[in-house]
């Protein structure tokens, strides 16, 4: 069986199981390529009827404007409904100060806004775009991943999923994170985008951008939140983004790839992993993702 057909079918089945096993499922939408693919898959899963999920955007307030514009256009053109939750508000509520660093990241604080949303909106399932190839902790997570009332993931007591039989039964207060793209790699996502001709924010393609060049050669798109030092050098480069997180901590990569075909060709050449190439926050600790997930992260 063709691998993209297999992955598409698997994702559709997972999305349908989510719709039929839960009362209040939401689809986590970040505006990145993975969540855009999920919206596309959800449309296929329930066609010709409308997508039975409300989107949920955990907004750090550090989004690229391109992402937000794309989000709003997608929601409008597909007739979706979306709930936007503010990370800044969740931080204020908990009196968490703004991170003071050169590249101030609110990424880790997204968990708070997510947990608040789950509680206030009575969400029993959150569909996320996590892929097992992204990270060693994710590589071990189930497709239906149960979280307790505090949002905690316990990796040592996960439910086995033989023959992909997904058990979404939960007790009150618990919720489930659902990962339809578990078995996709970054390249699978791009090949699927090509096959299905899915539109993406322009950030994913090469464009001229004012960047800050870090000592290790990494390029950070310049934005007003970065605390510039006198020794910093701003350069204009042709770059694109491999992941679209907070604009404050997502590095750009030098690239000339202006189309989906060129991005695929570029990825076939690249030597760096997706996160290694672009996420400052994940470079910090080897167990970074596992710790965050245990605390309620996506």
């Amino acid at each position: 069986m063709d691998h993209l057909h297999y992955l598409e079918t698997e994702a559709i089945e997972i999305l349908r199981e989510t719709a039929f096993q839960f009362q209040r499922p939401f689809l986590l939408f970040s505006g990145g390529k993975d969540s855009i693919c999920m919206v596309h898959l959800a449309r296929l899963a329930f066609a010709p009827n409308p997508i039975p999920f409300t989107l949920l955007h955990i907004d750090t307030g550090h989004n690229f404007t391109e992402t937000l514009t794309f989000r709003d256009e997608l929601v409008l053109s597909m007739g979706l409904s979306i709930n936007v939750r503010s990370v800044v508000e969740a931080m204020r509520k908990r009196e968490i100060p703004e991170p003071k660093m050169k590249f101030p990241s609110r990424n880790a604080m997204q968990s708070f806004a997510l947990l608040d949303a789950i509680q206030e909106l009575n969400i029993d399932a959150c569909i996320g775009g996590g892929r097992r190839d992204e990270d060693k902790a994710r590589a071990k997570e189930r497709i239906f991943s149960v979280r307790n009332h505090e949002g905690t993931w316990n990796p040592l007591s996960q439910r086995p999923e033989p023959w992909n039989m997904l058990n979404g039964r939960i007790n009150p207060g618990e919720n489930v994170r659902v990962f339809p793209l578990s078995n996709w790699t970054e390249l699978d996502v791009w090949n699927y985008i090509q096959r299905e001709q899915i539109a993406l924010p322009s950030l994913y393609f090469a464009h001229e951008r004012l960047c800050l060049e870090l000592p290790d050669g990494a390029l950070m798109g310049y934005n007003p939140y970065v605390l510039l030092e006198s020794t910093d050098v701003l350069v204009e480069r042709s770059v694109r983004f491999r992941t679209i997180g907070d604009m404050t901590c997502t590095a750009a990569i030098p690239s000339m790839a202006g189309s989906v075909e060129e991005v695929i060709a570029e990825l076939n050449q690249t030597q760096l992993s997706e996160r290694g190439a672009t996420r400052l926050d994940d470079r910090i600790s080897e167990a970074g993702m596992e710790d965050r997930k245990r605390q309620g992260y996506f």
Binding site: M1, T9, K136, N167, N183, L272, A287, D291
Partner: protein, 384 residues
């Protein structure tokens, strides 16, 4: 590109993690930043075993606890590697991990006679009916690449293995650490002229799907007047008449993976439209021939929960999308990771096809009514 799900098992320290790491490394599937990290941790040479040991507890204990998924591609195949733990106490994870795989690589240590746990692994392969079994005798470097040692292990395994008729066995002597016969052919073992592990995987023919079988649909749910379902086997044509018990069903229009189409193949996700849809329910099977009703069955189960005393308990049975209460008889104590044949009575019948039972395709899980945990998985052996 096709997809192939491969799983690896072996005893603790037989070199499973090293083998996976080697496979990824020699097929150029490890990115430089991750290789750099592994090399730092290995004090100069990449510590291949660390590639798949993803969780903190595993790193601190230095063992593999849970199922980990890794991916790599060759020209024609996307591989999903399922790395499963070797410890006796994690057999259940192995069963779950292996359940969906077409190929199993069972690792054996050349340095020691095969152990009880390896027998357990082989038993599970047989139980699950995994089509291709690659038995890799590892650490050949540590025994001077001696053919005699390889043959010794071979005869030990043959003494306990009863491969099913349709199971294929492949024997390969390897050194995961040195990379002999994993991706690259070994120069050190001229007496072995067969394929490397990767060559063997590449040559495994695509899974024979069940296009020619009797078409069968399973209903996932009803939404906005449409029925959502999956083609379990056979080729579905929108013109077919479907049967269940004494009822029959006509479909007016069909979507396959979201696109209007008249024909769907096994595994496809379909949307069914027509005036008969409201009588459909989640969990039903509809066939070109009506399925049987099963209210009582015997299941070969792998127990995944805590130990149970002899007696009868009520659990939730799930078969595909069908759910029933099941009264399960435990004639003797069952411990976590045990495999036993158990008899159960269902609160209401489920639909099954006899040919699917023969083919080990009617699979179930059991769910605890209090904790909602999945406490067992198994294959229906016979129905009453």
């Amino acid at each position: 590109m096709r997809i192939l799900k491969v799983f690896t098992c072996g005893n603790v320290d037989d070199g499973k993690s090293t083998l996976l790491g080697r496979l990824l490394l020699d097929s150029d599937s490890i990115s430089v930043d991750i290789l750099h990290q592994l090399t730092e941790q290995g004090g100069g040479v990449p510590n291949l075993a660390l590639l798949t040991d993803g969780l903190r507890a595993e790193r601190s204990m230095g063992i593999t606890i849970d199922v980990a998924y890794k991916f790599f591609t060759t020209k024609h195949t996307k591989y999903i590697l399922v790395d499963t733990p070797g410890h006796q106490e994690y057999t259940r994870n192995m069963y779950a991990g292996a359940s969906e795989c077409e190929v199993a690589v069972v690792l054996i240590d050349a340095l020691k006679p095969i152990e009880a746990q390896t027998r357990k692994h082989l038993e599970i392969m047989e139980t699950l009916g995994i089509k291709h079994l690659i038995v890799a005798v590892n650490k050949m470097d540590a025994v001077g690449f001696e053919q005699a040692v390889f043959m010794e292990r071979q005869s030990e395994v043959n003494a306990v293995l009863n491969p099913l008729e349709n199971q294929h066995l492949h024997w390969i002597p390897i050194s995961a650490l040195a990379g002999e016969n994993v991706v690259v052919s070994s120069q050190a073992m001229p007496w072995y002229t067969g394929p490397t592990i990767l060559e063997c995987l590449e040559s495994i023919p695509p899974l024979i799907d069940t296009h020619s079988a009797l078409p069968l649909l399973e209903i996932q749910g009803i939404y906005e007047g449409a029925a959502y379902g999956k083609v379990l086997q056979g080729t579905m044509d929108v013109k077919n008449t479907w049967h269940r018990g004494t009822q029959s069903l006509e479909i007016k229009e069909c979507y396959v993976n979201g696109i209007p189409k008249a024909v769907a193949t096994p595994g496809d996700q379909v949307t069914l439209l027509g005036s008969d849809m409201p009588m459909l329910e989640r969990g039903q099977q509809w066939g070109v021939e009506a399925p049987l009703q099963c209210a009582e069955c015997t299941v070969e189960l792998c127990w995944m929960g805590v130990a149970m005393e002899p007696g009868t308990i009520e659990l939730i049975l799930r078969r595909g999308t069908a759910e029933r209460m099941a009264r399960v008889d435990f004639p003797k104590q069952i411990n976590s990771n045990d495999i036993q044949h158990l008899h159960m009575n269902l609160s209401a019948p489920i639909d099954v096809l006899m040919e699917r039972i023969t083919a080990k395709k009617e699979r179930i899980i059991l769910i605890d009514t209090q904790t909602n945990a999945t406490v067992a998985a198994g294959i229906i052996k016979s129905i009453a």
